[in-house]
Point group: C2
């Protein structure tokens, strides 16, 4: 037998760290951003919608930026990331750069991923400007962009250097887009904090009117809850899966709606689907689901599956869910408002296909009962 030489190379652990989240109204400014840039040269990534909203007059003179066009999911691909990196190179940016992502979730994904891979990694500052991005995607370090074949084929975990949340950026959002993002806030209350769920229930008028105080509280609680989950489980091995609440059937509906429904609207539908499954499993109740549905209704969020989407298409699609194990997804569930359902240390659960089918049926037949 050939003599083999074997030994191990040690890899050093990364150090524990932290990054600041700053929340206010009308706070976006160059000096604030630069206070987190640590002397690095700043490159701004934004999109044409945010650019035309002119969130900060000081940015007018800012030449070092990349404006994603067209705005939205359609540009969230590896091609755009290459364009961002090559624009930085053309402008002479090097390792001592920082990228600031100013925009919604897709801008944050592209800015974050570009920062993760530019010259083996530079810091990123997130300034989320949509309800969804403020509630969800700016915290946690997940980035992902699409290939020509699938969503989020490329990605990395890359924590931001800082997150700046300015509630004024929400004022110019179209009504439907604004409300859609509140579904993620409802989700956060459901999985983690009944007091926060009640806050949303008791402040729907101020939230719908986009009052600064309510929006700041919303941003703070969203970040706090999201941070609590991702601090425990940064790479989505287990607990982080609870953030997927309402997303399994929600994603399928989103895909099948062919861009007619917004992400948050589909999460709203998915939350009702999860509630129906919980009732079937004996960990939910009709009363609880009605309370949730009432809140989603007040926020003008949809709670049933549109007629043009078929049950069979949904069931077929969730078999291909990226989190599927052996061809069937695990479901994040709650056992009470504010309390995730865990069993044997697991935060996502196998659910019999017939139960899922029954929930989808009910969501098709009537407004969730």
């Amino acid at each position: 037998m050939e003599e083999l030489i074997k030994f191990n190379v040690k890899t050093k652990p990364s150090e524990a760290g932290e990054y600041p989240v700053v929340i206010g109204s009308g706070i976006i400014s160059k000096p604030l951003i630069e206070s987190f840039a640590e002397g690095r040269r700043n490159f701004i990534v934004t999109d044409e919608n945010v650019e035309s909203a002119s969130l900060c007059s000081e940015f007018k003179a800012q030449d070092d930026k990349f404006i994603i066009s067209p705005a939205g999911e359609i540009s969230k691909n590896i091609k755009t990331v290459i364009e961002i990196v090559e624009a930085m190179e053309a402008a002479g940016f090097g390792r001592d750069s920082v990228i600031t992502g100013l925009g919604g979730g897709t801008v944050g994904d592209m800015a974050g991923f570009a920062a993760a891979i530019f010259k083996r990694g530079v810091p990123v500052i997130h300034i989320p400007t949509s309800t969804v991005a403020q509630a969800d995607s700016s915290i946690g370090g997940k980035t992902g962009v699409d290939s020509s074949i699938s969503k989020n084929a490329f990605g990395a975990f890359h924590h931001p250097a800082a997150v700046i949340i300015d509630t004024h950026t929400l004022k110019t959002l179209p009504e439907r887009e604004y409300l859609s993002g509140l579904a993620e806030s409802v989700k956060h209350g459901l999985i983690m904090d009944s007091g926060y769920f009640s806050f949303i229930e008791n402040n729907t008028a101020e939230l719908i009117g986009r009052g600064d105080q309510a929006l700041k509280h919303l941003a703070k609680e969203n970040c706090r809850i999201k941070a609590r989950v991702v601090e425990e489980d940064p790479c989505e091995k287990n607990q982080r899966r609870i953030l997927n609440y309402g997303h399994t059937i929600g994603h399928a509906v989103e895909t099948l709606s062919n861009c007619k429904l917004l992400h948050g609207e589909c999460v709203s539908i998915g939350i009702i689907a999860a509630g129906l499954i919980e009732i079937e499993l004996g960990i939910g109740s009709k009363q609880r689901l009605e309370r949730i549905e009432n809140l989603l209704n007040k926020l003008s969020l949809p709670v049933r599956i549109p007629d043009y989407i078929s049950k069979d298409d949904i069931l077929s699609l969730i078999k291909h869910d990226k989190k599927a194990v052996d061809g069937w997804p695990r479901f994040a569930l709650i056992e009470d408002i504010g309390k995730a359902y865990t069993k044997g240390g697991q935060w996502a659960h196998p659910v019999n296909a017939r139960l899922v089918e029954s929930a989808v049926n009910q969501l098709k037949q009537q407004a969730a009962r």
Copy 2:
């Protein structure tokens, strides 16, 4: 003054880890690779040269692979990485994949970077098949690929899950390419281990003849030295810079040779340049440099700058070295064979431009004196 809400999000440290290095002769086999794949589906990235060398008959039936064509630096770009990822997607690979890079340094870079960004990261197994890759690039987790504008514009730090070194893969390398890689071994001896330097001096005949025993010892010592440096400084903040020994002027010569000289050949020239600078700084000696030059000569490695490369072009290029600070690079230096020169805790040093110019002049005028 607007009331700001501020708090910090904690990021969890990654755990300390380790990965195995296995060295032998004629050891490449599917079962060995699979023993490190932990049940993941394996996708092989290789290039047309390695493919035609048929290093392992078991691979013939292996359909899940991407063959880089043309082989070499010219394909080491983001476009090829996208092709690799999309080939994996087309073949149904998902998060439970492992990528095996079978080839030289450019294959390792592309396989490693693809693994770093595919679905936010999958493991990579390196099977380096060139002297350079076995000595250098397979250990340490650095990956990088080029944009259309510059080298290594894209990259990530991504440690391998395992490194398999089979000295038989070196047997089919063209003579010049094989010898070129030995420059990195000489460098390792110079910066870290005088005993290893002596081993190379005392075994030039067996090394030139590619004897298995000498090659296995070489691989072991190279990995051990490289591992020692990168374990201390995984992200190249300081100590890792010593690995750049001979590379500052070497890189400039490499670029200006327009692919006429191989990487290791330019490192050989750069090692002599460093030796001349050390003499000028009073930390080297003519005797020491002669000993080093004798060894490089025995290995048929060049020790002077070719006539077609001008001094001015070299000096102009090193101003743009990617590790330059304020327009001038820092130099990794040694104070003795086997002992890096450190000062004030620093492993790379500012050197007066006139000294560098003088060293380049001497390297141009005669065979390094």
